[in-house]
C-alpha cells in the first residue's frame, strides 16, 4: 500500500547562495538546499538520513550579517539569507581542517583497502591538499579484527561518528559509542569490549557502509577493494520517519 504523503504546512523562504536566488522550505538546512541545487560544499560528518552533529566543520559557510562562520549542516535557512559557500577564507580553513585530519592519525592511502573509494581522499583533492604542512603526530592506534565479518582500524578513523549514529538511529542497536577526549578519543563497541565480543552488534554492517574512510571495513578486502554502498540510508530513514 503506498504511503500517502501528508501536506505539511511549511512555508517557503527565498535566499541567495553564491549570488544565486533560490527558494527552499523553511525547515531545511543550508547544506540540504546546497545539495539539492548542486552547490558543492565539502562535508564529512553530515549524512542524509542521520541526525546532525556539526562536528567536522568542513561545511562552514559565511552568512551576511553574522560575524562568525556557520556550519551549513546545522543552520536552518531563513528569509533573505545571503550565503557565501566558497570564499578564499573558507577554502583556507577547509584545507587546514583536512590537513589536520591527515596529520592526526595514520592514513596511509597507498595501502588502504578504501584507496580510491575514500571520502577523505576525495576531500583532500577538492580542498587542494597536495601535502600536509603540519608535522604528523605519528601516534599508533589499535586495529580490532575480532569481529568475524568486519574490522575497525582506528588509525584511519576521523571521528565523524556516522557509525555511532547509524547504529543507534537506524539499526537501533547502539553498539557504537565514543570514548576518551582529544587525541585519545575513539569509537568503541559496547563498553570498549572487542567488537567480536559485542552482545549488541547485529552484524548488519551499516556502520561499515557509512564510514567515510577505511576505518570500518569488511574482512578479507585488499588494497582498494572496499567499495561502500550508502544508498540504503535515505530509503531507510524515509521509511522510518513515515512510520
Amino acid at each position: 500500500m503506498p504511503i500517502i504523503a501528508t501536506q505539511p504546512s511549511v512555508r517557503v523562504v527565498t535566499l541567495r547562495i553564491d549570488g544565486q536566488d533560490l527558494s527552499a522550505r523553511e525547515d531545511e538546512t543550508i547544506i540540504e538546499v546546497c545539495r539539492e541545487n548542486k552547490i558543492p560544499i565539502p562535508s564529512l560528518c553530515w549524512m542524509e538520513g542521520l541526525s546532525v552533529v556539526g562536528a567536522c566543520r568542513l561545511c562552514m559557510v559565511e552568512v551576511a550579517g553574522q560575524n562568525r562562520l556557520l556550519a551549513a549542516c546545522a543552520t536552518r535557512v531563513a528569509e533573505g539569507m545571503e550565503i557565501t559557500t566558497n570564499s578564499e577564507k573558507l577554502q583556507r580553513y577547509r584545507r587546514t581542517l583536512v590537513e589536520l585530519l591527515f596529520a592526526e592519525r595514520n592514513h596511509v592511502c597507498s595501502v588502504c583497502v578504501s584507496n580510491g573509494h575514500c571520502e577523505l581522499q576525495w576531500l583532500a583533492n577538492t580542498c587542494g591538499v597536495d601535502h600536509v604542512r603540519m608535522p604528523y603526530r605519528n601516534s599508533g592506534y589499535a586495529v580490532d579484527s575480532t569481529h568475524e565479518m568486519f574490522r575497525v582500524d582506528h588509525n584511519r578513523c576521523v571521528l565523524c561518528t556516522r557509525c555511532v549514529r547509524v547504529c543507534d538511529e537506524i539499526e537501533g542497536a547502539h553498539t557504537w559509542d565514543v570514548m576518551g577526549r582529544g587525541s585519545d578519543c575513539q569509537v568503541i563497541t559496547d563498553l570498549a569490549k572487542p567488537w567480536g565480543e559485542s552482545d549488541t552488534c547485529t552484524s548488519c554492517g551499516k556502520c561499515v557502509q557509512v564510514c567515510p574512510t577505511g576505518a570500518l571495513v569488511k574482512q578479507g578486502t585488499s588494497v582498494g577493494e572496499m567499495v561502500k554502498d550508502q544508498h540504503f540510508l535515505p530509503i531507510l530513514a524515509r521509511r522510518r520517519s513515515a512510520r
Binding site: 595514520n106 592514513h107 592511502c109 581522499q121 597536495d130 601535502h131 600536509v132 604542512r133 608535522p135 601516534s139
Partner: protein, 206 residues
C-alpha cells in the same frame, strides 16, 4: 613546523623567476633544461613510473637533459640544476644530506610520489620507537648473524619525514606511484613555463 611562508616565497619565485628561466626556447636548440632525480627512502616505483612515459621520453629528451639520476651514469650532482625531482622520504642521515644538497643546487624542487610527499609506507615505522624498529628488523626477524649494523650504513632518523619537512619544496606530485601521465603533465607544464596543478591528475595513494 611551518614551511608555508617559505614555500610560498619559493612558489612565487618559481612562477616569476625559475619557471620563466626554465622555459625552453625551441629555436635555440642548444639550451636544454637540466633535470636531476634522486631515489631516497622509496621503492623506486616512481622512477619506474617515470620510465613508463615510454615513447614520450623521446620527445622529452629533446627538451630536457637528465644530468644526475639513478637512470643515468653520472655520479656527481652538478652545481646548478634547473629541476630537481626527489622520490622517497627522509629516513636516514644520508637522505637528509642529499635532500639539502638538492635544495641548494636545484632552482625548482619537486616531491615525486607519496613517500616524498607524505612519508607513506616508510613512515609506518613512526609510531614505534627507533630501538624497536632496529630490533625487529635486525634481531627478531633474523636467524643468523643477528646484529644491528653501525658501520657503512647511514644512521636512521628518529622519525621518517616527508621531504618538505626538511627543505622547501615547490611542486608536489602525490601518488603511489604517480601515473606516468601525471609526471608527463607536470614536466610539460614546467617546460611551458606554467605552474602545474598535479591534483588534477593524481592524489594520495593514486
Amino acid at each position: 613546523m611551518s614551511t608555508q611562508p617559505a614555500a610560498t616565497a619559493a612558489t612565487s619565485q618559481a612562477t616569476t623567476g625559475s619557471a620563466a628561466q626554465i622555459q625552453p626556447a625551441p629555436d635555440t636548440s642548444g639550451t636544454k633544461i637540466s633535470v636531476a632525480t634522486i631515489w631516497l627512502d622509496g621503492c623506486s616505483g616512481c622512477h619506474m613510473s617515470f620510465l613508463d612515459m615510454d615513447e614520450r621520453l623521446v620527445d622529452l629528451a629533446q627538451q630536457i637533459d637528465i644530468v644526475y639520476s639513478p637512470l643515468v651514469d653520472s655520479k656527481e650532482l652538478p652545481e646548478q640544476v634547473d629541476v630537481g625531482i626527489i622520490e622517497g622520504s627522509i629516513s636516514n642521515e644520508e637522505d637528509l644530506h642529499k635532500a639539502k644538497l638538492f635544495r641548494e643546487r636545484c632552482k625548482l624542487l619537486v616531491s615525486l610520489g607519496d613517500c616524498a610527499v607524505n612519508g607513506n609506507v616508510p613512515a609506518m615505522r613512526n609510531p614505534f620507537k627507533l630501538e624497536a624498529v632496529y630490533e625487529r628488523a635486525y634481531l627478531e626477524n633474523v636467524n643468523i648473524h643477528q646484529q644491528i649494523p653501525t658501520q657503512g650504513v647511514p644512521a636512521l632518523l628518529q622519525t621518517v619525514k616527508p621531504v618538505h619537512a626538511v627543505v622547501d619544496v615547490d611542486v608536489f606530485i602525490p601518488g603511489c606511484p604517480p601515473h606516468a601521465d601525471s609526471i608527463h603533465y607536470v614536466l610539460s607544464e614546467l617546460l611551458a613555463g606554467r605552474r602545474p596543478e598535479p591534483l588534477r591528475m593524481t592524489r594520495f595513494g593514486a
